[in-house]
């Protein structure tokens, strides 16, 4: 924890090595989160770079994190996703990385056996951006409802509502497609 704090302090002084280390540590997390949100590998790569450049700009103007650096990065990423969809509201391509589809093919329950990755991928894309956001942060990034609420600028109750709606809607979509 102290190492992490020291790393962040050095990054504030634009220490190249510290910034590089932070990038290596957090870029894969941010990339996978962004990929799950925009469903486009190229866009996710570009946005990952943007998030870290924004991080530098924010450090420059003293708009830094108050509680968790990781949560703060996710918040920047969340805002970048909003900007991304504002600029191009049309549906992005639905490419699915090979390794991801293979991992999900392992059967775990009756429901998983029946559901292919593609069906799930398309069903999740039919949820609202906020619902996708909650699921990505809760199940992808393993954050608590409180952390998700901080990142999204909502209260915990609102996140619980979104989570419930997201899962109920996803369930309905999957059941409907199965019929």
């Amino acid at each position: 924890m102290d190492n992490q704090q020291a790393l962040l302090e050095r990054a504030r002084a634009y220490d190249e090595k510290a910034i590089g280390e932070l990038y290596d540590q957090y870029a894969p997390l941010i990339y996978s989160y962004l990929y799950r949100r925009v469903h486009d590998a190229q866009a996710a790569e570009d946005l990952t770079g943007d998030v870290f450049v924004r991080m530098l700009q924010a450090i420059q103007s003293d708009q830094v994190w108050h509680t968790s650096f990781r949560g703060w990065l996710y918040r920047i990423a969340h805002n970048r996703v909003i900007d991304y969809y504002r600029k191009q509201p049309s549906a992005p391509p639905t490419s699915i990385p090979e390794n991801l589809a293979e991992q999900l093919d392992e059967p775990d329950s009756a429901l998983i056996k029946q559901s292919s990755y593609r069906r799930l991928h398309l069903a999740i894309r039919r949820l609202t951006p906020d619902q996708q956001q909650v699921l990505a942060l809760r199940f992808g990034e393993q954050l608590t409802a409180r952390e998700v609420a901080e990142i999204m600028g909502k209260n915990v109750g609102a996140v619980e509502v979104q989570q419930h709606r997201a899962l109920a809607t996803l369930r309905r979509i999957l059941e409907k497609e199965q019929l």
Binding site: Y14, E45, Q163
Partner: protein, 167 residues
């Protein structure tokens, strides 16, 4: 009731047990409602939990861009000579404070005067506020631009006491 279910769902998800049926034993009354949601959550966990390795080239590009940006910031910071203790200070703090104090004093004076004038508008000779009424009436009288307006002003101010106003 719905809100209750949403909170129970959150409790179930926080339990983080491998077996949903084990979790549902603690919620026998809501089990039927929670079961499909928890099954879907399991599915979502599998979907989002699958590790997603980014292409190394993509992240290397982002890293290079970030470091270039950091170097630019470093240069910018180095280019500005900063004397110890002088960074981020306002050039004329005394003038700024004086202007702020002056502005505050003007606001207080104007609002106090307006308040007294408003309170004194119906006062009569002998009342405590009557001396404050005279200058304000004189001011208003002088603001009236035409003779007609000047003539009408005392009339309108006396309307409460007299039915007509003839010279």
């Amino acid at each position: 009731m719905t809100m209750h279910l949403e909170h129970l769902l959150e409790e179930c998800l926080e339990a983080r047990s491998e077996d949903n049926e084990v979790i549902l034993r603690s919620y026998p009354q809501q089990a039927d409602q929670l079961r499909p949601l928890l099954d879907t959550a399991t599915l979502a966990r599998r979907y989002y939990g699958a590790s997603l390795e980014p292409p190394p080239s993509g992240l290397a590009g982002g890293r290079a861009r970030l470091l270039a940006e950091a170097a630019r910031y470093r240069k910018r910071v180095a280019a500005v000579p900063i004397r110890p203790g002088k960074a981020r200070t306002i050039r004329h703090p005394f003038l700024l404070r004086f202007a702020a104090a002056l502005l505050a004093a003007v606001i207080i004076l104007v609002s106090t005067g307006a308040g007294i004038a408003w309170a004194a508008r119906d006062s009569l000779p002998g009342d405590a506020l009557y001396p404050a009424k005279l200058p304000s009436r004189t001011c208003v009288f002088h603001w009236r631009q035409t003779r007609r307006q000047k003539w009408d002003y005392p009339c309108s101010s006396l309307r409460n006491g007299r039915k007509s106003c003839k010279p």
